[in-house]
């Protein structure tokens, strides 16, 4: 069961990520963050629910759409913003850009831009944990397109063979850039069904319901710590903005999906939904919700502005860390 405090924590964390991504997307339009960026608006419940079930010792990896995961695992908005601005205070010193984030202290080891690399990395970290008989867990966050990449299946086979403590979290948002799932993957062959054929336990859940994500994650993480082995979670969700960039698709007249479809999913906004849950169950008042939002926005604006004011890396450092 989730305590009221936990419910509030989940809500506040989603709010922080939502406000951060919204504010960053707004700033992005000024063309001063020179790094192709895949915003995560609409998909907050998965990273928040999963990361709430992890400890700092557990590690996470992510793909190109990685801000949510970086933040939910414990990364700071300030260092993320600085990274997008290319500042030397960025989490990767401004060198990596939006798709190459890291925050080792909080256990967010790396995001990387090439599909399925994060799956392999998490599997490798889990191999390390298994060899040390540690009870740490490695998590990979990735999208539905990864189920088209061979490396994904290589990792499934390996993790199942070696009983590695790796949690595969697939955010199935139905699209890879502009391509819907139906033109990319065989009819009737669900991703979790394919994974299950490797004898890996799977869950197929509503990825816009943070409570469901959290409870599921708690359960599987607990299982994994007691009896190591991979678990796969497929979380149905939806991205609001264009694949890469800060706009809604219809603002740019892209037609691969309808405005109606987007709006329908926005109506199932994970943040609003959980806010409503807090209100209904008396865990929070409307006033509290709006105060939290105001405070969060303010603090995020401060972080972003502070990052913006930070210095560029010195050109003399171009060859630093070359060995």
């Amino acid at each position: 069961m989730i305590t009221p405090e936990q419910h509030i924590r989940l809500y506040k964390e989603m709010l922080r990520i939502r406000c951060a991504e919204a504010a960053l997307a707004e700033r992005y339009k000024q063309q001063e963050m020179r790094t192709p960026t895949h915003f995560g608006l609409g998909q907050e419940a998965v990273p928040v629910g999963v990361c709430a079930a992890l400890t700092k010792e557990d590690v996470a990896y992510s793909h190109h759409r990685s801000h949510n995961h970086y933040l939910a695992k414990g990364g700071s908005v300030y260092r993320l913003a600085a990274e997008l601005f290319g500042r030397k205070t960025g989490c990767s010193g401004g060198r990596g850009g939006s798709v190459h984030l890291t925050d080792r202290e909080s256990g967010f080891i790396a995001s990387s831009a090439i599909l399925a690399e994060c799956v392999a990395m998490a599997t490798g970290s889990a191999l390390s944990f298994a060899m040390d008989a540690s009870d740490r867990i490695a998590v990979a966050f990735f999208g539905d397109a990864v189920a088209e990449e061979g490396a994904f299946y290589e990792c499934l086979g390996y993790a199942a063979l070696k009983k590695l403590p790796v949690l595969f979290v697939c955010e199935n948002n139905g699209y890879a850039t502009e391509s819907p799932l139906s033109i990319r993957q065989p009819e009737g062959a669900s991703i979790h069904g394919r994974v299950a054929s490797f004898q890996i336990p799977t869950r197929n859940i509503d990825g816009n319901d943070v409570a469901e994500v959290y409870l599921t994650a708690l359960e599987v993480v607990d299982e994994m710590r007691r009896k190591p082995g991979p678990v796969f979670m497929e979380c149905r969700t939806y991205r609001w903005l264009e694949h890469v960039g800060p706009f809604f698709d219809h603002e740019l007249k892209r037609t691969y999906r309808t405005k109606e479809e987007v709006e329908e999913w926005m109506a199932h906004c994970p943040v609003k939904r959980h806010g409503a849950y807090l209100l209904e169950n008396g865990h929070a008042t409307g006033e509290q919700l709006s105060t939290w939002e105001t405070e969060t926005r303010k603090s995020i604006e401060d972080d972003i502005e502070r990052a913006y004011q930070d210095p560029w890396p010195d050109v003399q450092t171009l060859m630093d860390k070359v060995y």
Binding site: Y28, R34, G86, R95, V99, R184, V244, V315, L318, V322
Partner: protein, 343 residues
Amino acid sequence: MRIIKYNEAISEATVEAMTRDPSIFLTGHAAAYPSGLFGTTARAAETFPGRVFDCPSMENAFAGIAVGAAAMGKRPVFVLPRADFMFLAFDNLLNLACKWHYMYDGNAGRVPIVIRAAVGKGWGQGATHSQCPHAPLAHFPGLTVALPSTPADAKGLLLNAYTNNHPVIFFEHRSLFGTEGEVPEQMDPIPFGKARIAREGTDLTIVATSLMTLEATIAADELAKQGISIEVIDPRTVRPLDEETILASVAKTGRLIVADCSWEMCGFSSEVAGLIAEKGFHSLKAPVRRIALANCPAPVSLPLETAFYPKASTLAQAALRLLNKDEQDLAGIDRVDYFKGPY
């Protein structure tokens, strides 16, 4: 003559070739969308809906699928929005496609596949979305590796790729898609292994690939004002390499700069420098100069990225030095990057 853009020339070549040859089909991520490879596939997609289609993210297998389709008489064109994804396809390209004709002694038929990929910088693409692996690929006998630098070359070389009987890798530079140039309405294919002399000159030769040809031309224009005559050679294809044209130019100028859009080590700039050391040694009046990316992964941050990429001023400066002239402040000649995010 008619002026069109690099991406229009590519689109045009594709539609023309597909009209002539029904065995050509084109696929790749987003290939069927207006955004497909910088708009170069959109007209083909409209015109030949059954022969232009999307492809799941499966770079490795698809390269092998292309070989199997080609062996049955198709001409598959596989497009990649970033050349960096091609590493995943290296096995089927290097262990199978490029060896096919030789390894089976010609008895297994031919595998005419074309892999087109966008390469290069722009808007902080960073370490994994900007690479141009033409040199590693050109290392392997059996591959043709082309890097057109003008709209006309893009069209002519692509027409040749689409009618060639063996695998061709075709690198299209991000910063060139929007550039314009003269392209005849009716064009013949441009043969592989025939360099283009982009600019004639007598004092120094610059051999430059892809976008670097543009940078070299800017540098040459600037130096021309000072009475320095630079010859700019665009090899068009790295493999086969037009050694003759390069050697003839150096025989005339005695001085060589090689400017490449990838790294130096075991790269194209070393290849041409090595060529001259072996076959043009007696023409050389001064050391060859290799100009390539800084010896590190591509950083995103603007000042680092700016320092990472060589440009017109880098070339002009190097030319002055080779000609024993004083260095000058030439930063003003560098093009402003017109790229806008988020791509």
